[in-house]
Every structure is written in C-alpha cells, then in structure tokens.
Symmetry: C2
Subunit: 142 residues, 2 copies
Amino acid sequence: MAFSLPDFLPYLLNQAAEAASREFQSRYRSRYGMLRTEWRVLFHLGCYGELSAKQICERASIHKTKVSRAVAALQAKRYVSRTTDPDDRRREVLSLTRAGKRVFDALQVDAEECEAKLTAVLTPQEQAHLRSSLAKLMHFGS
Amino acid sequence: MAFSLPDFLPYLLNQAAEAASREFQSRYRSRYGMLRTEWRVLFHLGCYGELSAKQICERASIHKTKVSRAVAALQAKRYVSRTTDPDDRRREVLSLTRAGKRVFDALQVDAEECEAKLTAVLTPQEQAHLRSSLAKLMHFGS
DNA sequence: CGCTAACAGTTGCTTTTGTAACTAACAATG
DNA sequence: CATTGTTAGTTACAAAAGCAACTGTTAGCG
C-alpha cells in the first residue's frame, strides 16, 4: 500500500499547527516584538500566576535555555519581574509586572479573536473532538 | 471569562505536533542525519516523483531558502539528483537517486510504525475526525 | 560536619532558521 | 530586439534554537 504524506499525522499536525500559529504570531510579533517562547511564558504567568522557570519548562515542555532567554527578554521589556525564593535560593519566582499584565490582557483579546477565526471553520462538535484528540496526542511521549 | 491556555488551538496544535514529531524525528535524525525539512523534501519526491524546488515549496508551504538548503544537503548525501529543465532553464527538476529511494523506503516503514503508535491512542472514528479537522485548519490562511 | 550528587538557572559555542539581496533565465511591452 | 518586470533558485548576514559546560544552591549520606 502506498504511503500518503498528507495523511501522515506528524506532517498533518505540523502543517495545521503552523497555519494556526501564523495567525496569532503576526499580533504578538509586530505589536510587542515578542517571540513564540516569550508569549508562551507570558501566558503561563498570566493564566497560572507565579511560577518558576522550571515549572514553565515542565508544563509547556520547552527546554530550559529557551525559557531562560525568554524570561530575560520579558524582563528587559519590563513585563516580568523575578524574586529569589527564600526557601530555596536556587529558585526564581516569576510574575507579571503591571505592564506585563496589560500586555497579557491585550494579547488575550487577540488570542480569542484568533481562536474565533480558527474555530469558525469547524462545527462545535468537530471542535470538541479535535481538542480531545489533540489532548491525547499531546501527552504522547510522557 | 478566563482564558484557558490549554484550550487555545495554536498552542494545543503546536504541543500535539511537537509530541508527534519527536517520535519520528529520532529515526531520520539518528539513522540518516537528516533534518526535518530534509525528510519532507525526500518524502515529497518519493511520494510524488519529480518536482522542482518551487513545487515543493508550494505543496508543503516551506520557504524556498529552507528547501534550497535541504536539497543541497540531500544532494551531498547522494539521495537526490537534479537536472535543469530544458524548456525553462531556471527550473531544476529534482528526483531521488537509487540510494535516495532506498532511504525513502526504509523511512516509509518507520513512518508507518510511527503512525501506528500515534493512532493507537485514538479510535478509528476519532482518527477520521482528526484528519478532517486538521485538513480544514491546514488550508486556513490560503 | 564534609563530601558527593542532584537541581535551578545561565552562558558560550555551534547549528539551523529567517530576511534580504543577489544571479540567471524568461516574458511582455514598446 | 532593448528595456523593464518577473520568476527559480542561491547566498550572505543576522536572529534564534540546540547542546554542553558552567555557577551557585540544596539534599543525602558516610
């Protein structure tokens, strides 16, 4: 039986992911000069509150050097502040500054618009199925 | 209403795509020293026969510089050969060498194994829905 | 305690990607 | 046919990612 590239899940997933990302990317990039890892870190802090770099790495499965540099960039933009955890001085607790919260709020609106555009091509049932399947695949290797 | 990061499609899609890619990546990387764009180019030629770089760019929506470099790398590995199209001497027609075909055949087996592992976490119906939704999202911006 | 191992995070160096400018070939217009 | 514009593909330079080695801190164990 012939192999079909457009049915190969890693390929299909990647194509869909890139198409979806492009839409949102234009917003955080042009307006705030942020990189992909940067908005992710910002959103993690915005959605879940204070976290250490390590916790972000685990939740998002991003490598620690990427997070480290994203945090440094966000700190340079004054969106994120850090304090050393007094109970474990290796740990740096990250949180959004007021400016960071404002940017998060603004990008949240963009994200919702983007989500609306994407989900518009799917029925509510398709959306539910998609999310459920993606969630299963996401935790694949772990 | 609170924004939920794990329900945000660009994020969810990306996480799932990366998880799925990791599985296959280990194979083409360790065994053939190939990069992501390289296996894609190889598979395009393997699945569809002779193509120009431009055609691969369009089909896979990969930037032309990435394809250019992937083709150069595949040519250096003697997996791909090129001939100038006599009807349009700007055009370079690419095709797999015998060695390239062998590698393609081997990787096809790996791809099918990988696909099987991934689809194992989904029912046949879920798979069908997933593919259909991904296909819709894939052609989003175009 | 003192020693070793593990951990959080950073930095330096290499590889890969992105962007823009380039070459070479064709096409259209006057 | 000259000139201007367009296309296929490459290359040079800058930005970003990956990897390994490093610092500083905590934890375990003799």
